[in-house]
C-alpha cells in the first residue's frame, strides 16, 4: 500500500510538471476564438500575447510605420501605426476595408485597430497634422496582404 502511494505521488508530480511546462501562450489566455474575435481589441482579448509583425509599410509622409500584426493563437490580424515623427501627430491605423483607429499621439506612441479573424488582410495608415476619421484604403499607404 505504501509503495502504491509513492508511485501515485510520483505519477501526479510528473503529470503536474509536464502540464506546467507546456507553452501557454496566446490561446490559453485568449478571451475569443474564430470569428468571435471580429471587431474586438487584440490586447484586451489576449490575442496580442503571441502577436508578430508580418508586414511593415513606410508611407511617403515619413511620419508613420504601419504594421500588419498577426496572432497565431487567435488567427487574427490587426493594424498598428507608430508615430515615428518627432512631434505629436494624428495617427490612423486601418485594417483595410474593416476597422480603423485614430489617435493624437506623441512620438513613439502607437494606435492600433480592432482585430479580424482569417487571412488576406492589409494594414493601412499614416500620421499627419490632421485626423483621418475613416478607413485608409489606398495601397500606397498599405502593407502587402497576409
Amino acid at each position: 500500500m505504501q509503495k502504491f502511494k509513492i508511485v501515485l505521488m510520483v505519477s501526479i508530480a510528473i503529470v503536474i510538471a509536464s502540464v506546467s511546462s507546456f507553452p501557454l501562450s496566446g490561446i490559453a489566455y485568449a478571451l475569443c476564438s474564430g470569428s468571435g474575435c471580429n471587431n474586438t481589441n487584440p490586447q484586451t482579448t489576449g490575442c496580442s500575447a503571441d502577436a508578430a509583425t508580418v508586414k511593415t509599410k513606410y508611407p511617403a509622409s515619413g511620419l508613420a510605420r504601419v504594421e500588419l500584426r498577426f496572432s497565431d493563437a487567435c488567427q487574427t490580424r490587426w493594424a498598428r501605426t507608430v508615430n515615428i515623427g518627432s512631434l505629436n501627430y494624428w495617427v490612423n491605423a486601418t485594417l483595410r476595408y474593416w476597422y480603423y483607429g485614430v489617435q493624437y499621439v506623441a512620438p513613439g506612441y502607437t494606435a492600433y485597430s480592432n482585430q479580424r479573424y482569417g487571412p488576406g488582410y492589409r494594414a493601412c495608415g499614416d500620421a499627419g497634422i490632421s485626423p483621418v476619421y475613416g478607413l485608409i484604403n489606398d495601397l500606397a499607404r498599405c502593407t502587402g496582404s497576409y
Binding site: Q43, K57, I84, G108, A111
Partner: protein, 226 residues
C-alpha cells in the same frame, strides 16, 4: 616517374573540377556580391571573397538571399539567424534599411516575412524577410545595401515598470511613460539627461525594450537580371 605523373594528373583534375564548380556557383547566383562591414571590429566576416554574402555579429548571421524587380519596387531578400524564438525584425524606421544604387540612396518602403526555418526541436532558427525599395534597378547596376539592426517587435502594450527598471539599472536618467487609453500603445520619454536629445533618449529606451542588436551590415553586389 609514373607515380609522379599520376599525382600531377590527379591534382590538375581536382583543380579543374574545383574551378568548374566555382564557375557554376557564380553563374548560378543571379548577382555577385561581396560583403563588408565598415565600423564594427567585432563583426565576423565569412566568405568575403566568394559570391555568398554572409556576415555574423553578436550571434546573428545575415545573408542576402536574392534580389529582383517586382513592378515598381526592387525587392531584396535577406535571411538571418534568430537569437531566440521571438519576433525579430530588420527595420523600425525607413532609414534602417538603405539601398544605394549607383551613388543614389533609397530608404525602404516595405518589409515582410518571406519564410521561417525551424530547427529539429520545432523552434524557429532562421527568418527570411523581403525588403522593398521604390525604384527600378537597371541591369548591371552596382548596389550597396545598409542594414542597421535587428530587433524584437514592440508589444502592443508596453510594460512600463519593467522598461523603467531596465533604464534605471543602466543609470540612464531616462523616465518613460505609457498610455492607458484603449487601442493605444508604445511609450514616450518624459525625462532625460540634458545632454541627450529626446530622439536619442527614445532610441536608447527603444533599443532596450526591443533587445536591439546594432551593427551595420553592408552588402555590396551587382544586380544581374535573369
Amino acid at each position: 616517374m609514373l607515380k609522379t605523373n599520376t599525382s600531377r594528373l590527379f591534382g590538375w583534375t581536382f583543380f579543374f573540377l574545383a574551378l568548374v564548380a566555382l564557375f557554376i556557383f557564380v553563374i548560378g547566383n543571379k548577382f555577385s556580391a561581396t560583403a563588408s562591414n565598415e565600423e564594427d571590429g567585432g563583426q565576423e566576416q565569412t566568405n568575403l571573397d566568394s559570391t555568398v554574402t554572409k556576415l555574423a555579429f553578436d550571434g546573428v548571421t545575415m545573408s542576402v538571399a536574392g534580389a529582383h524587380q517586382t513592378g515598381e519596387y526592387f525587392q531584396i531578400d535577406v535571411c538571418f539567424s534568430l537569437p531566440d524564438d521571438r519576433d525579430w525584425l530588420l527595420t523600425s524606421r525607413p532609414d534602417d534599411a538603405v539601398l544605394n544604387v549607383n551613388g543614389q540612396t533609397y530608404t525602404i518602403t516595405e518589409e515582410g516575412v518571406l519564410d521561417l526555418k525551424f530547427g529539429s526541436n520545432g523552434v524557429v532558427t532562421e527568418k527570411c524577410q523581403y525588403l522593398l525599395f521604390p525604384l527600378e534597378v537597371e541591369n548591371g547596376s552596382n548596389l550597396v545595401l545598409f542594414l542597421k539592426k535587428v530587433y524584437v517587435s514592440e508589444p502592443d502594450k508596453v510594460d512600463c515598470p519593467a522598461l523603467q527598471k531596465q533604464l534605471d539599472e543602466r543609470k540612464s536618467e531616462i523616465k518613460v511613460s505609457c498610455p492607458t487609453e484603449s487601442n493605444v500603445g508604445g511609450f514616450g520619454v518624459i525625462q532625460k539627461p540634458s545632454l541627450l536629445d529626446t530622439e536619442t533618449a527614445r532610441e536608447f529606451a527603444l533599443d532596450i525594450l526591443t533587445a536591439a542588436r546594432r551593427a551595420p551590415w553592408v552588402f555590396h553586389f551587382k544586380f544581374t537580371q535573369p
